[in-house]
Symmetry: C2
Subunit: 373 residues, 2 copies
């Protein structure tokens, strides 16, 4: 429904951005937190940190900026029900299941069409659902600055100030020209750079001219659609057909038409092609929590740098993470291990091998051990 | 009941030693196999190797030498029922519970009085219940040689040829004089030596004049009682009172009188004092399986020297032992670990720290976590 003048007035008193919508991407079925994460219980739905899942924390973090009734969540058919259960304040029909995973461009664009239909002036904030942000207030300030830029028709990416020469992320190269939003200096983006080798990553961090691309974007929905029609006309046309057939309100139309969309990320499909992209730099204690070792960094530790929430006796043990929800843990003389135990599986690896968890999951797929996936 | 001439004749055809009785010591509540072993399920009752428990294997190993009806098993009140269940062929009343643990001297002596009452010529073989013997035929030959020496009134210890300079065992120092029993050279024992430091253990092994003391003894019951009356007259008198009050057939008498006996090992109480002790040396693939690391040595391994009976995917893992009865095990980049998981506990330690399992159990005692003991 298009916004009425009256409604505008009321919401304006809650937030300076009555037109702002959130699009939370929660369709991922990551394997990096196996055996705790499973297809039906992916990372974003897990309560890895505190009493709320990462998805719930993502929604919570928008408080005061985007209310639940202007929040959209893109999930898949396996987890849609659980996502609805976790986010009871978000209208059910706005927690959408992609019939098949088609990467971020189709998902974000589908949401853009819906938001533009509902509110032609609508600004959309696109956010992953499985990241940690230690300083939510700083994050919200960055979003606010991004929204103000988006209001002017700019495409905005929230860029994370790099904390280390990380080879696992994409980078954003900043141009010289800057505009300001209060204390925040907004820079033109001159390039999206794929995951670099270590030497290049080091250069990037030293130069001060690169930010991490954390997959957080802000546009007017209408800006995104214009760009889509320019750079991805086929996808734009296909999406218009979905909208004509009922859009997000017709699971049947989605099942039939959505799988035909191109499987492509928003970065490839649009961001690398659009000339008018701006970056809002932010230092907000961000982590994509991409492995058990990354999670280890975020937990509070005992004096020997162990993470072990269970009752335990750890004798000469250092820098281990031991997750065993109900069992007593006895350990002696171990170091730098990740140990995770669930009802049906036991993971043990050295911390520097925690990326290999994905290989274990692949092997389970190969063996057809579906119960463990 | 004293043996009759007829019975003697019949049993003599089964075994050359109609008078031989076995006394299996199964009262131990070892902690070294925690979390698999517990007070109610100590090592000797566990099926650590094969389908039979170590206790069952101990009884089984005597086949052809000592029948079940001449076998006595000393247990404690916690495990008596389970021991009876595991050894259905042994008469129930011969599986005795010590009301309190009083070490080996009282237990063995109690059995001696019972056997002497039943058969004044009775020879008793005393055996621990929690050891592994890879060559049972060699073991039985040693026992037979020991029985022949015991028939002559000698006190006999089965001595294990040392395989390494072990500091965790007591040693037996052999004198020069020897007698022979077929291929077996039986030596006079001139000293029982306590657990030595490493340098001394090395000397012992090099000298060829020392054997390991594995706690296996053979005497006539009457020989033991004579020695007890000579060297431990108080204990002998106390045991006579127990026998008068009903002996092993009166749990009430045992409960009242047994706890008053001195807590002392047969080595201290008698073996170190008796002059006429003889050692039968044997090389029988013996292990006391004193730790998870010792158990690891006995299991069959994969090409990377891992022991893991569960379904598993082990990526670059070497020399680990992973016991998780039902769970899928995924592991990457780990080495030399012992990991044991049960319904209520998880143990992780490096193999060279598997002796520290006892410390973990002590800590559980200190915290009063009885369910885990």
């Amino acid at each position: 429904m298009p916004r009425t003048a009256g409604k505008h007035h009321i919401t304006a008193s809650i937030s300076p951005f009555a037109d702002v919508y959130a699009v939370i991407l929660a369709g991922g079925s990551g394997t990096r937190f196996w055996p705790l994460s499973r297809r039906a219980r992916p990372k974003q739905l897990l309560k890895l940190f505190g009493k709320q899942s990462l998805l719930q924390q993502t929604a919570q973090r928008l408080r005061g900026l985007v209310p639940p009734e202007r929040t959209y969540v893109l999930t898949n058919t396996t987890i849609q029900q659980e996502a609805r259960r976790q986010l009871p304040a978000v209208p059910r029909q706005q927690i959408i299941a992609e019939p098949t995973s088609r990467n971020t461009a189709p998902a974000i664009s589908l949401a853009a069409f819906e938001i533009a239909r509902r509110d032609p002036q609508g600004i959309m904030i696109v956010l992953p659902s499985d990241h940690i942000i230690a300083k939510p207030e700083v994050f919200r300030q960055a979003l606010a600055a991004g929204c103000r830029a988006a209001e002017q028709g700019r495409s905005v990416v929230i860029g994370i100030k790099p904390m280390r020469p990380e080879t696992g992320f994409g980078y954003i190269r900043l141009g010289e020209q800057e505009s300001r939003d209060g204390k925040i200096a907004i820079s033109k983006v001159i390039q999206f750079v794929e995951k670099p080798p270590m030497a290049r990553a080091r250069q990037y961090v030293r130069s001060g001219k690169y930010l991490w691309n954390g997959g957080m974007f802000i546009w007017k929905a209408s800006t995104l659609i214009s760009n889509l029609e320019c750079y991805q006309p086929q996808m734009a046309a296909a999406l218009r057909r979905i909208v004509s057939a009922g859009g997000i309100r017709s699971p049947k139309a989605l099942r039939r038409l959505y799988p035909r969309l191109e499987n492509i990320s928003i970065d490839y499909a649009l961001m690398e092609k659009i000339s008018d992209v701006w970056a809002v730099p932010v230092d907000m204690g961000w982590s994509d929590v991409g492995s058990w070792a990354a999670a280890y960094e975020l937990y509070s530790k005992d004096t020997d740098q162990n993470v072990c929430p269970s009752p335990a006796y750890l004798l000469d043990c250092r820098q281990n993470m031991i997750v065993s929800s109900k069992k007593f843990v006895g350990a002696a003389g171990i170091e730098n291990l990740v140990i995770v135990e669930t009802n049906d599986a036991l993971l043990v690896c050295s911390q520097d091998r925690s990326q290999d968890v994905g290989k274990i999951v692949k092997e389970l797929e190969r063996r057809g051990m579906k119960d463990l996936l």
